[in-house]
């Protein structure tokens, strides 16, 4: 194997930490303007640090609000696949069992699960009959159908308040019939 030549890492050679400034030996009696500029520098640094602190507080407040509002997203993402499975089960109930009261009970459970999520701010993303929108949909298949229209929903998508936590996975039409 040939040895490759390395480009001049001239830029890397300058990788240094900023050195502490050497202290000037103070000359008593002289120094008025020097001390003044030192003092100004300190005041400026203090102001900047204060400003940084204030900004940091503001950002932390904002992040706290976001955490409270969206902190549940991880939990919800973990629970949604279970709702998917429950819905799959109901979608494939055998004909002869469809009207069993027991099956009706499972349907009620699914409805309860869905409405609990709604109460938590979770909203279903519309797919059927909609135009494909990459902001809320993820295209997994390109199939025969109206160009750019959603032909089939492969997995439900959800928003938490105004944020998409899981895009809807869909099959999109390619213009052929």
């Amino acid at each position: 194997m040939k040895k490759e030549k390395w480009p001049e890492d001239s830029e890397d050679k300058e990788l240094k930490r900023k050195q502490k400034e050497p202290e000037d030996s103070a000359d008593t009696g002289k120094a008025q303007p020097e001390e003044k500029s030192e003092a100004e520098k300190y005041l400026d640094n203090w102001r900047r640090t204060q400003a940084d602190f204030v900004n940091y507080k503001k950002r932390t407040e904002q992040e706290k609000e976001e955490t409270v509002k969206f902190g549940n997203s991880m939990l919800l993402l973990a629970l949604l696949p279970i709702l998917d499975d429950l819905q799959r089960a109901l979608d494939s109930v055998p004909e002869d069992l469809k009207d069993l009261p027991w099956v009706e009970g499972i349907r009620l459970i699914e409805r309860k699960f869905s409405s609990s999520l709604e109460t938590q701010g979770v909203k279903l993303i519309k797919t059927e009959g909609e135009a494909f929108d990459p902001n809320v949909h993820e295209a997994a298949l390109h199939v025969d159908g109206d160009d750019g229209m959603i032909v089939e929903e492969l997995q439900k998508g959800y928003k938490l308040y105004d944020r998409v936590i899981r895009p809807a996975v869909v099959a999109v039409g390619n213009g052929n019939k």
Binding site: E4, W6, P7, D12, T49, K58, A139
Partner: protein, 638 residues
Amino acid sequence: MAKAIGIDLGTTFSEVAVMQGGEPVVIPSSEGGNTVPSFVAISKSGERLVGQIAKRQAIINPENTIYSIKRFMGRKWGEPAGRELPIEEDAKRKTYKVVKGPNNEVKVAMGGQEYTPPEISAMILQKLKADAEAYLGEKVTDAVITVPAYFNDAQRQATKDAGKIAGLNVLRIINEPTAASLAYGLDKKKDETIAVYDLGGGTFDVSILEIGDGTFQVKSTNGDTHLGGDDFDQRIMDWLIEEFKKDQGIDLSGDKTALQRLKEAAEKVKIELSSVQKAEVNLPFITADSSGPKHLNITLTRAKLEQLVMDLVEKTMEPCKQALADADRKASQIDEVVLVGGQTRMPLVQEKVKQFFGKEPNKGVNPDEVVAIGAAIQAGVLKGEVKDVLLLDVTPLTLGIETLGGVATPLINRNTTIPTSKTQVFSTAADNQPSVEIHVLQGERPMAADNRTLGRFILDGILPAPRGVPQVEVSFDIDANGILSVKAKDKGTGKEQKITITASSGLSKEDIEKMQHEAEAHAAEDTKRKEEVETKNNADNMAYSAEKMLNDNKDKIPEETRKEIEDKIGVLRTALQGSDVEDIKAKSQELSELMQKAGASVYGQQGGQAEPDAQSEQTEEEPKKDDEGTVEGEFREV
């Protein structure tokens, strides 16, 4: 002052980070995650899409969705390939058109127009810039961008150009393995050799670096541009399909929906098996045939997973061997190993790397973020963060005072940044106590005697008062030089005393560590002793309040109850002489119950004027038991 950002511009994902308060922080994208897919597209309606949004429509718009543009940066048609595949090969694998410019430069077609790779990368950089500005609330211009160590001059220049087009002032282009090393603070090492093992989603890179005098030098690099975590996922998927075929006789590989679920499940179980020995892949209703719905439910053990991917991991060893040879080093000469890329979280990968280099790898920093973090650190240094001039210290050991029972009560916890101050109000332990002694302590042990005495002083002139009533405000103040002042002030009389201690940290690093270790070693017995003291204190308080209650309610408490309580107090006081904690607790409990009974009876008497005793808790009044016979739950036969 405007911040400089650090950008990891990756083949499949990009990330941006910034220094905040001296710490690197990854900036979340506007979509919420930390990474931005390196995708750019022009939609049918002519709209430009970047990142996650672009990726989501890739399948329905393959010709106008550009991905993995990094593979074409700084390259020309007909040029020797270096690490990458020849342009012709790479172009064939893409869903978009790769064309030739007048000077053999590489261009891509998107939305009916042609773009150079830097122009495409600039669109990704622009999005990262916008996300950073939204997060920081201010404009961002300066940036450090990372590139693979094997990038040549033309490739680096192309990356710089991309930054310029995006409106960024590129302070520096640094190597990805260098950035990773920075994230671990390895720039402080002298004359050491570092191996960086980077196993990401689609590519594997290994680099040998040398650090000396604050500068990094790349000695060699090697790798495999088409080997990564995605291949591991594929192995699991293939196995699941196989097992399902064996078990249920159905081939899922043609079912697009099933494949989607399998892909997600494969990645999920791979991640789970990094922390547990076995995990379940549970996919109900994965498909259906004439006989009804079918479910996939298979358990995958870590051992089986390792079997499935062993050859992939072994495949990474050959480039490592070659890199060492090219750097003219032996594995034993490697001083530090750094792991980069999500796939390095797998225990098998970590094991093999450790075996090969004979060293425990550095892995504390999130391997997906370590390059962006290193870039942010470099950006911070280049920007010359003003706060560098002001280095803040911390106080290495807890500072406090001694309180009742020889307990050490902390006022300033260890590792608190200084300068700082803390105030707390204490009180007296005995009735008519005329003075308090402030015994200033340093150390982590809960009992005062086991800590270091920094100083003592007395505040006297406290007016006669029942115990617990006077308010003595104790303040600790440490200035920037580490000088501690302790002040005690009687809020009633206004009298105060104070003491200044200069040697609050006259301890060497070894002494400090020794004290911390001792605290940990003795933690169990210390807790026990502290509990003992607290139990005794509580019992003592209880006896005192019981006596007070008896005194204040002389006439309202029946003689026998009074006698009972006095006896109990005596018994408790005797127990307090000893140190049987359980016994003291039990006797305190008994006394407490007696007091409650007595209190209840005082209230039971009409219009009792019982003074609320702060110590005894009021229980709910016993419901009056009438004999009027409310019979519950019995059915009467009519």
